[in-house]
């Protein structure tokens, strides 16, 4: 048994190094395709995390003209109180009066004297903060925004539904395209490994002929070649997975050091064990790609 194992590995390494250029090409293609597949998954994860971070804090802001009378403001309060009592759309609301609003504006534009001058208690609109019941439903938010827009003295209704929709669309757009690209590249990796194994077998057709004549089993003849394909895919998976982890680390570092925690992009990262799971999945996928490529190549060459 031991001599068989050493035979298989010796033959595999001999073949791998004999076809060095082809092996390297196959490894590179496997690496790139697996890296890209993993990246697709990581990006999807980033989108998901960002979406849930955004929808968690969804507020509808209803700005009311600075000169609104208390009676006009009461119309808002009444409408929102009623909507809250219904409990289907509005979960809660509060009011930030002119003083409060000026305060917010001054904090927001702390480094900009001209802007601070523009926002005073004669110009700054006050606003209602409305918390929707269903935080991730764009349609519900739209309906609510339209209803409030019809009230008098409404300056503007700012709803984040636009951003949420954009992000969802972007996620689908990027996801589908990178998925197609990585599938195409995975296919190329399978074909290259297939070709490498065929070439290796062709280079050793004399050995194979002799092996068949002296009564080596098909499995014995096949195994070094299949292992060669498996190892090619596995190396591609290991390099691709490693690169994935490195890129993920770099990206996460960049996001956390360059963007403040309350900025819109801080959640656009994959967290916890997810990157590791994805990298490991890519190693497994690499082995699978190699096994498929070499098994089909070795199988066809070896009719009795």
């Amino acid at each position: 048994m031991f001599s068989r194992i050493t035979y298989v590995f010796r033959e595999m390494w001999a073949s791998l190094s004999r076809n060095l250029t082809l092996t390297v090409a196959a490894v590179i293609t496997a690496t790139v395709s697996l890296f890209l597949s993993g990246l697709t998954l990581l990006i999807q994860e980033g989108f998901d995390n960002q979406l849930s971070a955004w929808t968690k804090g969804v507020r509808l802001l209803v700005y009311v003209d600075n000169d609104a009378t208390p009676e006009q403001l009461k119309v808002f309060t009444d409408a929102l109180t009623q909507a809250k009592a219904e409990g289907t759309v509005v979960k809660d609301f509060n009011y930030c009066d002119v003083a409060c609003s000026v305060d917010v504006a001054h904090k927001l534009y702390a480094g900009d004297p001209t802007a601070i001058e523009l926002y005073n208690d004669k110009t700054t609109p006050s606003f209602f903060r409305v918390i929707p019941v269903n935080q991730s439903s764009a349609t519900q938010l739209n309906q609510l925004a339209e209803r409030l827009h019809g009230l008098p003295k409404v300056n503007a209704v700012v709803s984040p539904d636009q951003m949420i929709t954009t992000l969802s669309v972007l996620k689908g757009f990027v996801g589908v395209r990178s998925l197609i690209m990585s599938i195409v590249l995975l296919l190329a990796a399978v074909l290259l490994i297939w070709n490498a194994i065929r070439t290796a077998m062709f280079a050793r057709r004399r050995e194979i002929e002799v092996m068949k004549l002296v009564g080596a089993t098909n499995w014995f003849i096949r195994l070094p070649f299949m292992l060669e394909g498996l190892v090619t895919g596995l190396i591609g998976g290991l390099i691709g997975g490693g690169a994935l982890l490195a890129v993920n680390q770099d990206w996460t570092d960049g996001i956390t050091t360059r963007f403040p925690a309350n900025s819109g992009l801080a959640a656009f990262v994959a967290t916890g064990s997810t990157p590791w799971s994805i990298a490991l999945a890519m190693v497994a996928l690499g082995a699978l790609v190699g096994a498929i490529g070499s098994a089909t190549a070795a199988g066809r060459f070896l009719d009795v």
Binding site: V210, V214, I221
Partner: protein
């Protein structure tokens, strides 16, 4: 040991390599297959190790009909058969020792068996002092001896030789014949296809003559023609 029964082998619709051929070879017998080029000698040898299958008839080797033998039983069959060819089919990147060891290695024989049997068989073929040479460092006769050593190292029941002296000068060819004869006297059945008139007439073994796929003569202690 070998029984060929009403075998017909057709390669394509117009080439019939063998037509209704029948004969039997006993254990430890030595048989020459003779006949003009294209008469079906190599085809007959290939049928005996299931490198080809006949359209009609049966081929029995060591008591089993190998025509219907499932593919996974073929390696076992071939371990009972040694093959020798006109062009030796040696592996050029391996030494004499490695070429012979290869035949044992790829059927899973352990290292200690290889270390014991390879020098033994190299001594039989008279190459014990050339074990570390590569094929290109050997004469044609020596290369054929390596190929015989490789075919015989696993002590097969049958040796199939397809024009083993075809590329050798008469003197060297005679040496190869003496070696095959000696292997035959140890009980190994030998079937050898040849064009070599001198050798056939010298050896006076059984001769089976083919002509366009038909057996036209089967003679004990026969001559070439």
């Amino acid at each position: 040991m070998i029984r060929i029964e009403n075998v017909t082998k057709t390669y394509s619709t117009d080439v019939t390599a063998l037509r209704d051929a029948s004969f039997e070879v006993n254990k430890a017998e030595f048989v020459f297959l003779v006949g003009p080029s294209g008469s079906g000698k190599s085809t007959l040898l290939r049928l005996m190790s299931r490198q080809e299958r006949p359209e009609k008839g049966g081929v029995w080797v060591a008591g089993r009909n190998i025509v219907e033998m499932p593919n996974n039983k073929i390696p076992e069959l071939r371990r009972k058969i040694g093959n020798i060819f006109q062009d030796y089919k040696l592996l050029l990147n391996k030494t004499v020792f490695e070429n012979v060891a290869f035949a044992l290695e790829v059927i899973g024989k352990p290292k200690q068996v290889i270390r014991q049997q390879v020098p033994q068989v190299l001594e039989i073929v008279g190459l014990e002092d050339k074990a570390d040479r590569f094929p290109h460092q050997l004469s044609g006769g020596e290369q054929q001896r390596v190929s015989i050593a490789r075919a015989f190292v696993n002590r097969p029941l049958i040796l199939l030789a397809d024009e083993p002296t075809g590329n050798l000068d008469p003197g060297t060819g005679e040496g190869i014949m003496r070696l095959l004869d000696r292997i035959n006297t140890t009980g190994t059945t030998v079937v050898m296809a040849t064009h070599d008139q001198r050798i056939v007439n010298q050896m006076r073994k059984r001769v089976i003559q083919l002509d366009r796929g038909v057996i036209v003569r089967d003679q004990h202690r026969g001559v070439y023609d």
